[in-house]
């Protein structure tokens, strides 16, 4: 049955692996140059502290490859689910060949196990290989950008694509089995894959582990009157979930070191007959009446003292980069478990319902 499954699978697998071979060649040619440029110029300029010109060249290196690699890894599991998973059983059900297959000298369980096993392993291998190539190629850029933990990048590196591919494949198989028609099963697979990826990225992943919190002082002097604290406090590779401004009671009163008052963000002071007050929070008794805020360095330090005195702080909610591989492992496990559960449905359905 394994040989027969391989024979049936040959054409579609060959297409996929040929495409991957082309990608591999492109990456093998360009990757070492990118790494070499990083070693030769970026490392040196970082040490010298002047990277503007170098960075521009570096980040623009093989721009077409950079721009297309990520989407390829995003799309691959969907293609696997649509073109390998959905037709796997739907095509046999549509054309009636399952009647031929199920009356040979092997049980349905074995038939299904081999089909799903071969397809599933090929799917996971394809995603794993492609992710390995992409992760390797991007490693100098990732070291510079430090953004591989962000939602946009997380699913395009490391081991999670293996889980996505397994899930998309298994969903395609189940969809084909329940719908019994290839094209609607393909559409259902695409929708399910997108829903699973989006739901995982924005609803589940931030809560996989309790995020860490760190509070820092709100400092005057940046954009909107306040300097964002993340750059100084956190590792630039950390995944910041929220950056809130909180008051003395710990309530969120704004974002990114600013205070939101009537829809306007900033650190705003008002001067009135009773003296100076911090908009949205309260009065600043330490500032003598008549002082015009922001006029001179002295008044600035008074305003800063008022912010500190009122207990205004910035709170960062984040997942540290040290958890990156734990997150990769957890997400892989979740998608693999979902794929196994879907495979279980297949076995149950083929044995019990399809009779």
């Amino acid at each position: 049955m394994i040989r027969f499954t391989l024979r049936q699978f040959r054409a579609s697998a060959a297409t996929a692996y040929a495409a991957m071979a082309v990608i591999a060649i492109v990456l093998a040619v360009t990757g070492p140059r990118l790494a070499h440029y990083y070693d030769a110029h970026v490392v040196g300029c970082q040490a010298a502290g002047n990277c503007n010109a170098v960075t521009e060249t570096f980040l623009g290196f093989y721009h077409a490859v950079q721009a297309s690699l990520g989407p390829v890894l995003l799309v691959l599991p969907a293609l696997i689910g649509i073109f390998w998973g959905a037709p796997l059983l739907a095509h046999e059900l549509e054309t009636g060949t399952f009647r031929l297959a199920w009356t040979q000298s092997l049980t349905r369980n074995r038939w299904l196990a081999v089909k799903m096993g071969v397809g599933g392993l090929a799917a996971m291998a394809a995603a794993g290989l492609l992710s390995l190539m992409v992760t390797w190629w991007f490693s100098p850029l990732d070291r510079w950008n430090g953004n591989r933990f962000t939602p946009a990048m997380f699913g395009e590196r490391g081991i999670v694509p293996i889980g996505y591919a397994a899930f998309a494949f298994a969903f395609g198989v189940v969809g084909g089995l329940l719908i019994r028609r290839t094209v609607p099963a393909m559409a259902a697979t695409l929708v399910a894959y997108l829903a699973a990826r989006l739901g995982m990225t924005y609803l589940v992943r931030p809560h996989l582990m309790t995020p860490l919190r760190v509070t820092t002082a709100v400092l005057l002097g940046g954009k909107n009157g306040a300097a964002p604290a993340s750059a100084s406090t956190l590792n630039p590779q950390d995944w910041v979930l929220a950056s809130n401004t909180i008051n003395a009671a710990g309530h969120v009163i704004g974002q990114d070191g600013t205070i939101t008052v009537n829809g306007t963000q900033g650190i705003m002071f008002a001067t009135g007959p009773g003296g100076v007050s911090l908009a949205g929070v309260g009065r600043c008794p330490n500032i003598p009446a008549g002082t015009v805020p922001g006029r001179d360095p002295h008044s600035s330090s008074l305003l800063q003292a008022c912010i500190t005195r009122l207990g205004i702080r910035q709170e960062l909610v984040y997942q540290p980069i040290s958890r990156y591989w734990a997150f990769q492992g957890l997400e892989l496990a979740i998608f693999l478990a979902a794929a196994l559960a879907l495979a279980g449905i297949c076995f149950w359905w083929v044995r019990r319902r399809l009779t």
Partner: protein, 298 residues
């Protein structure tokens, strides 16, 4: 010897509707048994229950003494050609033979190769490009080379033209003679079965109407023509299958183990088709009677 097929009170229900009900029959081994009935009579359902593609909703079914499709060994003992003879359109004839060889422990490669050569099929040809008759022959080859004890064919000739039909049945008969395999095949046409079957099962409206040896059926069924009389008044041992009357005359089709002695009757011969049609007609009437009975209760 164990029966080729034995069912006890077998039934299959789809979403509340019984496609087959209360089916009890035994097909002795070594026969070529025909399963005949109108479209929708439950023939496919019965055959799919026999090969284990379907699971009974009621009753039991045994094939060659074992539950259908229970394990690889049992699967290996039954060859099946499904309705519309499905094959893998993208695979060549040769690859189909390989498929058979890989998936069946008792595969007879010599037999398969010889049949393909006899049929003049190009081994490199994709199965999707074969004609209906060739495809049916390929499906039969796959089922035969498995060397089964029982070969089950579901309407194998329904979609074939008369010439391909005769060719197919001729090959089937040659194979049966050569390999001593029991056969159960279905058709909605008696003429297809008449030529090849020595045992007959008539299925109509989800119920078995009659089973038996073809010769026996022909010997025990008679057409009686005579003066008009009530069919209910027939002597014991004479079962009326069909009755039609004019003002003066009655024509009855009866089943009787013994000879008909009543001189009032003119006894006529029946063809197999006459017998089958009589039983189908009876099933039809019974169905209508039970329906009108229900309406009366309501």
């Amino acid at each position: 010897m164990t029966a080729a097929l034995h069912t006890q009170d077998l039934g299959k229900r789809y979403r509340g509707r019984w496609a087959l009900r209360g089916c009890t029959l035994t097909v002795p081994p070594g026969r070529v048994a025909g399963l005949v009935g109108p479209n929708g009579a439950g023939k496919s359902t019965l055959l799919q229950l026999a090969v284990g593609l379907l699971r009974p909703s009621a009753g039991t079914v045994e094939v060659l003494g074992g539950p259908p499709a229970h394990d690889p060994e049992q699967l290996a003992r039954v060859g099946y050609v499904a309705q519309d003879t499905p094959v893998y359109a993208a695979l060549s004839v040769r690859e189909h033979l390989r498929f058979g060889a890989w998936l069946n422990p008792r595969w007879d490669n010599e037999l398969a190769g010889r049949r393909i050569a006899q049929l003049d099929l190009d081994p490199g040809q994709r199965a999707g490009k074969l004609s209906g008759g060739q495809r049916a022959q390929l499906a039969l080859t796959l089922a035969l080379a498995k060397r089964p004890g029982l070969l089950i064919l579901d309407e194998p000739v329904a979609s074939l033209d008369p010439l391909a039909r005769r060719e197919f049945l001729r090959h089937l008969m040659e194979a049966v003679a050569e390999h001593e395999v029991s056969v159960l095949l279905s058709s909605h046409l008696v003429t297809d079965l008449e030529r090849v079957c020595d045992y007959l099962i008539v299925l109509a409206a989800g119920h078995v109407q009659v089973t038996g040896e073809v010769e026996q059926l022909l010997a025990t069924h008679h057409r009686l023509t005579g003066p008009r009389r009530d069919p209910a008044a027939m002597p014991g041992g004479q079962q009326v299958i069909e009755a039609s009357h004019t003002d003066r005359q009655s024509t009855l089709i009866v089943r009787s183990e013994g000879p008909i002695h009543d001189p009032a009757w003119t006894v006529g011969q029946l063809s197999l088709e006459d017998v089958v049609l009589a039983y189908m007609g009876q099933a039809n009437c019974a169905g209508q009677a039970s329906r009108s009975g229900l309406e009366a209760v309501r």
